[in-house]
């Protein structure tokens, strides 16, 4: 027995070392490949626009300038857009997290009578869509258009996020719930005091998804709040800046008579970097929630 263990130890040592080396190499390679487009965009963002047009910029700007950033940051409604975006990100994330957590909780209760039906009800919503126009008509009917609330209310419940949380919650041993029920706790208490504290990692994950979604939204601003310039979002303002050559269906006639403005690729790059920064800063903040393990304070499964 002892010998076998020793042999195993020696074997695993060698393979293990090989593995660690390979893994590290792989990670390094992965980082290089994934980092390259970001560095490339960063380089272009610091490069003069007219010069950037010639292409050939890889990791370092050829003709340094801060002009692109100043063009973006001096965009008129940017501040308003920033406020609104921050507001909708914070509010939207909190609302969505709460909503999906509650729904996931309900659906993950083993003895809930309508568990299957409720799940099915929501799963189907992921694959059906009425279309842009009917949705617009609905929101208008609900007086959500030209209002801030169209940013946070319609998206509150999402089957995807709900399922992610539900899966996680289903992994929490039943014994916890049972012993709490024996102690006389109602569902609300169980949700708030027992289950939720254990769900930090998944809550952080869903919060991240929703926050990023909210942060990057502009299409809804354009569709529903076009007339209210004070409800614009950061991304929408940036998208307006990028009025340029990637028009999908411009007419030749119109372009012929255009005032001739073309937004440089470099401005697009600067806008991208500016949008990315806050999210990149958000993640370390959330990382502390990705704490290992459930603290099992009682019955072992």
């Amino acid at each position: 027995m002892e010998k076998k263990k020793e042999n195993n130890k020696i074997k695993t040592s060698v393979w293990d070392k090989v593995f660690v080396v390979c893994n590290t190499l792989f990670m390094v390679l992965f980082v290089i490949i994934t980092l390259y487009p970001v560095l490339n965009t960063l380089a272009i963002s610091f490069n003069d626009g007219t010069d950037a047009l010639r292409g050939g910029i890889y990791l370092w700007p050829r003709k340094w300038t801060l002009q692109n950033y100043s063009t973006v940051l001096q965009r008129q409604n940017l501040i308003t857009g920033a406020y609104i975006t921050v507001a909708r990100t914070v509010l939207g994330t909190l609302l969505a997290l709460a909503a999906n957590a509650v729904l996931a909780f309900i659906v993950s209760r083993k003895d809930f009578l309508f568990k299957r039906e409720l799940s099915l009800f929501w799963v189907i919503t992921m694959y059906v869509n009425g279309g842009m126009i009917p949705t617009f008509l609905l929101y208008r009917g609900l007086h959500l258009t030209n209002s801030f609330w169209v940013y946070v209310i319609p998206g509150m419940f999402s089957a995807f996020n709900m399922l992610v949380i539900r899966t996680y919650m289903a992994g929490i041993p039943d014994s916890l719930e049972e012993s709490a029920q024996l102690d006389g706790a109602g569902y609300t208490t169980i949700f708030l005091k027992i289950i939720s504290p254990l769900c930090k990692p998944v809550y952080a994950t869903v919060a991240l998804f929703v926050a990023v979604g909210q942060w990057n939204s502009w299409f809804d601003a354009m569709l529903y709040n076009r007339m209210s310039s004070n409800l614009t979002t950061l991304q929408y303002e940036l998208m307006k800046l990028l009025s340029s050559v990637t028009n999908q269906s411009a007419s030749a006639e119109a372009m012929k008579n255009a005032a001739g403005t073309v937004t440089p690729t470099s401005v697009r790059a600067a806008a991208t970097i500016l949008t990315m920064l806050p999210i990149v800063c958000l993640y370390p903040f959330l990382q502390r929630y990705f704490v290992t393990g459930l603290t099992i304070g009682g019955v072992k499964e």
Binding site: L138, T292, G293
Partner: protein, 309 residues
């Protein structure tokens, strides 16, 4: 692990006991009906000759004409094939990539290293497809870096224009997806991995398990529910294989393999001011998605796995 369901009878006693749950469910269902199901009334557009001026209520009713129009068009059938193929390839490839990456990353000892790599890995998710396809186009062009390398190592004697050949298109799309989304997709798996009970690892170590055994018997089973759920969900999305990548990377030579349902709808529906086509195609997609997930769900049920419903 998830324990069995206990099928309960619907008695008043039970309902009273689950009062809180039921009330909340009712509210949530009301929300769902309003925001998710009500707009489906718009599906009637697919059966009309929709004109913006007539609106939903007054446009001429044409029954299944639009569907007939779609399915009698060979291009549409081809487009379905393309979308399905790219959808399936992307599904398999990105899935494996994300899981493998998450597991490998988890094996990295240094916490600082782990965090750095993870943060960098999801950055491309924030770049728009315009930027990413631009880089890809550049890299794969005749004067791009890939051709340079291939020439240097004498694998080719002449630069190859990758975008001129239909057979390269689907792999390129798959690669683009992996490149851009692996880090982001892995986030879920990484967070699931952190949820695994550390005592299981300790137990494994005590039994003399090596790294591979640890992964096989602790890590993988630990994230299996997450994998299954995501797999089930994405099976339904297989016809949503995209629009932007294919639109940006496609060209006339590879058109027969690059056009997706969404591109078709743009070209033949919206650009022609025919909105009904888009809705009809959308209904078709929804129908296929639901059929797929029902089947997938049944298979999962039979195998005792985590299910969608």
């Amino acid at each position: 692990m998830a324990s069995q369901e206990k099928k309960r009878n619907i008695t008043w006693k039970e309902i009273k006991k689950q009062k809180v749950l039921i009330i909340w469910s009712a509210i949530i269902v009301a929300y769902g009906v309003i925001f998710c199901y009500l707009p489906l009334g718009g599906w009637i557009m697919a059966f009309q000759n929709y004109k913006p001026k007539d609106g939903l209520l007054h446009s001429a009713f044409v029954g299944l004409d639009k569907f007939k129009q779609l399915f009698s068009d060979d291009t549409f059938i081809q487009v379905i094939r393309n979308t399905l193929a790219m959808g399936v390839i992307n599904l398999i490839v990105t899935f494996i990539a994300a899981i493998v990456f998450a597991i490998l990353l988890n094996e990295v000892k240094s916490n600082g290293g782990k965090k750095t790599v993870q943060t960098i890995s999801y950055l491309p998710h924030f770049l728009s497809w315009i930027i990413v396809t631009g880089i890809l186009h550049d890299a794969l062009s005749s004067s791009g870096i890939i051709n340079e390398l291939l020439l240097k190592f004498h694998i080719l004697d002449q630069p190859l224009n990758f975008f001129a050949y239909p057979q390269f298109f689907w792999p390129i799309v798959a690669f683009a997806n992996v490149w851009k989304e692996t880090g982001w997709n892995a986030i879920i798996y990484l967070s699931a991995i952190t949820a695994i009970d550390p005592s299981l690892y300790e137990a494994a170590n005590m039994d003399g398990a090596g790294r591979w055994a640890r992964i096989r018997y602790v890590t993988l089973p630990g994230i299996k529910p997450t994998i299954m759920i995501l797999l089930l969900m994405n099976v339904g999305n297989v016809l949503n294989a995209g629009f932007e990548i294919q639109y940006l990377l496609g060209n006339g030579l590879v058109k027969s393999v690059s056009e997706t349902i969404d591109i078709y709808v743009l070209k033949w529906g919206i650009s022609q001011n025919d909105f009904a086509i888009g809705t009809a195609a959308g209904i078709f997609k929804s129908f296929v998605s639901i059929v797929l997930i029902v089947i997938a769900n049944q298979i999962a049920k039979k195998n005792g796995e985590e299910r969608l419903f």
